[in-house]
Symmetry: C2
Subunit: 452 residues, 2 copies
C-alpha cells in the first residue's frame, strides 16, 4: 500500500496548489475521475476552506458520494458552509439513508428548508423518524419490492425500469410483499435469471427471509447480518411491513464503530465522536479525565488500607517492597480477563447464560496464573534475601489476589451486560482502580495471618 500512499500525497499536494491558484474547476476535475472512497481520503487531508471550495465546484453527484464517505459529523460541518441551493443539489444525489444521516445533524429549521426543496423528499422523510442508533436509522428506502403474483418476466422488466440512479448494490435481492406490504419472501437476481420467464415470483422466492424490526438496536441488526452471512437485511415495522433494507457497507461501518468504541472504552476513555485527529485535544481530554480522576478515590482507599495494617508493615518492613508488584499484578490480571470477556460478549461467543461457566473458567485460569506467579514470587523473594515467612505470605497472597482479580474481571462485565450497560465500561483503569485497594487488603490480611 506504500505506492498508494505516495500517490495520494501527490494528489493532495496537486489539489492544494490548484486551489491556492484559484484554479477550482481543474482541482474539481482532477478528483472527479477517482473512486469516491479515494476522493474522501484526499478530502480528509485538506482543511475546511479547501474542502468547501471543492464541494462548490465539483459535480453534485461527486460531492454527494464524498459526503457519504465522510464521518457524519464532518459531513455536517461542511454542509453548514454550503448555501441552501448547492446543498439541496448534493442531498438530491445522496442515497436516502445517507441523506437522512446528514439531515439529522442539521438544525431543525435548515432541515425543513432543504427537505422542502428536495426532488423526492418522501424517500428521505420516513427515514428521519428513526433514531440514528436503530436499525431504522441505518436502512435505506432504495429497494425493490414485488408481489407474489408477478411472473419472473415481469420482475426482470421491473429491474430494467429502475431509474439509472439506483445503486445496483442495493438490488441484488428483490423482496416480495403481500397486499398489505408485509414481507413474505426474497428472490435474488441470480434466481430470476435462472428461472423460467413464466414462473410466478411466489413459486421461485425463498420464504425463509430473515428480517429485523426497525426499532432494534443497530448493533443487533449488525449481529443478525453477520450471523446469517447476509448481503442485505430487510427491515420491517411492527406489523411486518417492509420499510427498508440495510446494506453491507452500513454494517461494516457499524461493526467498525462498535469495535472502536469498545477499544477506546477498554483503554479507559469515553468513545470519541469523530476520527481521532479531527477531535480537538480539549475534547480528547474531556473524554479521558473521568477515569484518571477516579484514581484519586482509590488512592485514598489504598492509604486507608495501609493505615489499617500499619503495625504489621512496620514489624515486617519487607512486606512493603512487594506492594507495587502485588498491586500491579492484580490490576493486570483483572484487565486481561475483562478484555477477553468483553470481546467474547460483543461477538456472542458467551452470553449471560454462560455466566457460571465463565466464572469457573476464569477461576481455574486465575489459580494457574497464581501458582506460576507464586512460584516466581517465592524465588524472587528468596534471592532478595527476604525471610521465608514473608516470602510465603507473598506467594499465598499472589494466588489469592490473582484469583480475586480474574473472578472480579469475569463477573463485572457480565453484571454490566445484565444491567443493560455496555460491558466495555469495565476498562483497564476501572479494574486497576477496583483491584488496587481490595488487592492490598488481601495481601496484608494474608500476611497478618501467616506472620501472626
Amino acid at each position: 500500500m506504500k505506492e498508494r500512499a505516495i500517490l495520494l500525497d501527490m494528489l493532495v499536494d496537486r489539489v492544494r496548489s490548484l486551489l491556492s491558484e484559484e484554479r477550482y474547476e481543474e482541482a474539481a476535475m482532477l478528483l472527479e475521475g477517482l473512486h469516491p472512497a479515494d476522493v474522501a481520503e484526499i478530502f480528509e487531508e485538506l482543511d475546511e476552506d479547501e474542502q468547501t471550495l471543492l464541494l462548490q465546484h465539483m459535480d453534485p453527484g461527486v460531492s454527494a458520494d464524498v459526503l457519504e464517505e465522510l464521518h457524519e459529523e464532518e459531513a455536517a460541518e461542511l454542509a453548514e458552509e454550503l448555501p441552501d441551493d448547492m446543498l439541496t443539489a448534493i442531498v438530491d444525489e445522496m442515497e436516502p439513508d445517507e441523506a437522512a444521516d446528514l439531515l439529522r445533524e442539521m438544525p431543525e429549521e435548515r432541515r425543513q428548508r432543504i427537505l422542502a426543496e428536495l426532488e423526492d423528499p418522501d424517500e428521505v422523510r420516513p427515514l428521519l423518524r428513526h433514531p440514528d442508533e436503530s436499525a431504522g436509522g441505518l436502512m435505506t428506502t432504495e429497494f425493490l419490492a414485488l408481489r407474489r403474483r408477478m411472473t419472473v418476466a415481469d420482475a426482470l422488466e421491473a429491474v430494467r425500469q429502475l431509474a439509472p440512479s439506483a445503486d445496483p448494490d442495493n438490488i441484488f435481492y428483490i423482496y416480495v410483499v403481500d397486499q398489505y406490504g408485509r414481507l413474505v419472501g426474497v428472490v435474488s437476481l441470480y434466481d430470476l435469471i435462472r428461472a423460467e420467464p413464466y414462473e410466478l415470483i411466489g413459486d421461485v422466492m425463498d420464504r425463509d427471509v430473515i428480517s429485523v424490526r426497525s426499532d432494534v438496536d443497530r448493533e443487533e441488526a449488525a449481529a443478525v447480518f453477520a450471523h446469517y452471512d447476509l448481503l442485505s437485511l430487510p427491515v420491517v415495522d411492527e406489523d411486518g411491513r417492509l420499510v427498508g433494507i440495510i446494506t453491507s457497507d452500513d454494517i461494516l461501518d457499524v461493526l467498525e464503530e462498535e469495535a472502536t468504541e469498545d477499544i477506546q472504552r477498554l483503554g479507559g476513555s469515553e468513545p470519541l465522536d469523530k476520527p481521532y485527529l479531527d477531535t480537538s485535544p480539549f475534547e480528547v481530554m474531556r473524554k479521558r479525565v473521568g477515569w484518571l480522576l477516579l484514581l484519586f478515590v482509590t488512592a485514598s482507599l489504598t492509604g486507608t488500607v495501609m493505615k489499617l495494617f500499619q503495625g504489621d508493615l512496620s514489624r515486617h518492613i519487607e512486606l512493603t517492597y512487594f506492594i507495587p508488584l502485588l498491586i500491579g499484578t492484580g490490576g493486570n490480571a483483572g484487565s486481561q480477563t475483562t478484555a477477553t470477556i468483553i470481546r467474547a460478549l460483543a461477538i456472542g461467543e458467551v452470553d449471560l447464560r454462560d455466566a457460571l461457566s465463565v466464572l469457573w473458567h476464569e477461576m481455574r485460569v486465575g489459580l494457574l496464573l497464581g501458582l506460576v506467579m507464586a512460584l516466581v514470587g517465592v524465588l524472587r523473594a528468596l534471592t532478595w534475601g527476604t525471610p521465608f515467612p514473608v516470602a510465603e505470605a507473598v506467594a499465598t497472597a499472589l494466588i489469592l489476589l490473582i484469583l480475586w482479580a480474574t473472578s472480579v474481571g469475569a463477573v463485572m462485565p457480565l453484571i454490566m451486560s445484565r444491567l443493560g450497560i455496555d460491558p466495555a465500561v469495565v476498562s483497564g483503569p476501572f479494574m486497576s482502580t477496583l483491584v488496587d485497594a481490595t488487592g492490598l487488603f488481601i495481601y496484608l490480611q494474608t500476611a497478618r495471618l501467616i506472620l501472626g
Copy 2:
C-alpha cells in the same frame, strides 16, 4: 433476541435427549430444517461426542454448512473423529475456500487421502498453496469469469448453466478476463439484466475493477474491501491473472477476528486461537502469563528508583503517600493514549505519515490532562494537610508525568507499526510496566528539584 435464546436452549435440550435415546436420525432431522448459522450455534452448545454423532447422521450438505460456520480449529477437531469416507462426502459439499481451510488443519497424510477421493480436487488444491493469513488463503475458486467478446445473452446463458450447487452469493458480479486470464473488468447481474442481449460484455463491463494480489495480507484485503464498500473482491496472481474472489462473509470474519486479537492484546494477553470457552484454562494462562511476569522486572526497577531517592523520601515522608496515585495515573494515561492510537492505526484513521501530528496532538492532550489532574492533586494534597512545597512537587510531577505517558503512548504504537510489529502489543500492562519506573523517577526528580 431473548425469545430466540430461549428457543435455541429448548432445541439444544431436545437434540440432547434424542441423542441420549439413540434416536440419531430424528435429532439430525430436527436440525436439517434450520439455517446453518443456527445449527452451528446449537452445535457449539453440545459436547464433542454429541457433535460427532450428529455429523454422522446428518445429510453431508448440512454437515458441510455447519463445519463452515464453526471456528476452524473446532471444525478440524470434529473432522478428526469422522471416518475418511464420511469426511470426504462432507468436504465435497463445502465451498472450496472453506474446504481448503479445513484441509490445511489436517495432518499431511490424511489431507492427501481426502484430496485424492474428492469429486473435484482441482477446485481446492490451488487454494492450499496460499498461506492462511494471505488474500489467497481467504479466496474461493467459485466464481464466474467471462471474455469480452461474449454477448450479454451468452453471459446470461452461462449463469443459467452454472451447477445448482453454486452459491448465488458468489455470482452477483461476473469478472471479465482476456485471453491470458488477466482480469480486465467486472459486470454485475444487474447490469446484465438491464443491457440489451446483443451488446458485448467488453462494452457493458466496468473497467475500473478493484483487485488485490493473492500474496497480500488478509488484513490488507479486508481494508481494501471495506474502503471501497465492495460485495466481493477479485484476487489476482503476480501476472494479473484472476485466481479467485473474496466474499463478504470472509471479510466480516477477518475484521471480527482482527478486532478480537487487538482487544485481547490491548488487555495484555496473547490472542486466543479458539473461542474463549473452548480454550482450556491452561492455554488461557499460557497466553497471559508473559505480561504478568514482566512486572517482576519493573517492580525491581521501581525499587531501584526508590533506593536512588531514599534520602529525599525519608526527609519528606509525605512524598510516599502520592506514589500509588502518581504511578497509577501515568499507567492509565498511557493506556488511554495507546488504545486510541492503536485503533486509529488499525482502521486507517492515522498512518505513519501522521506521526508528528499524533505526537503533537497527544502532547496537548497530555498537557490539558496534566493541568486538570495537577489542580485536583493540589486541592487533594492541601486538604490532607500536606506542606505546600510537597503539593507543588506533586502537581508539577503530575503534569510532567502525564505529558510523558501520553507522548510515550503515542509514539510506541507508531514505532511498532514502523517495525512491522502489530501495534496492539503496546498493551495496557505494557504501558503500566513502561511508565511505572520512569514515572516514579520523574516524580522524585521533580520533588528533589522543588524541595531542594
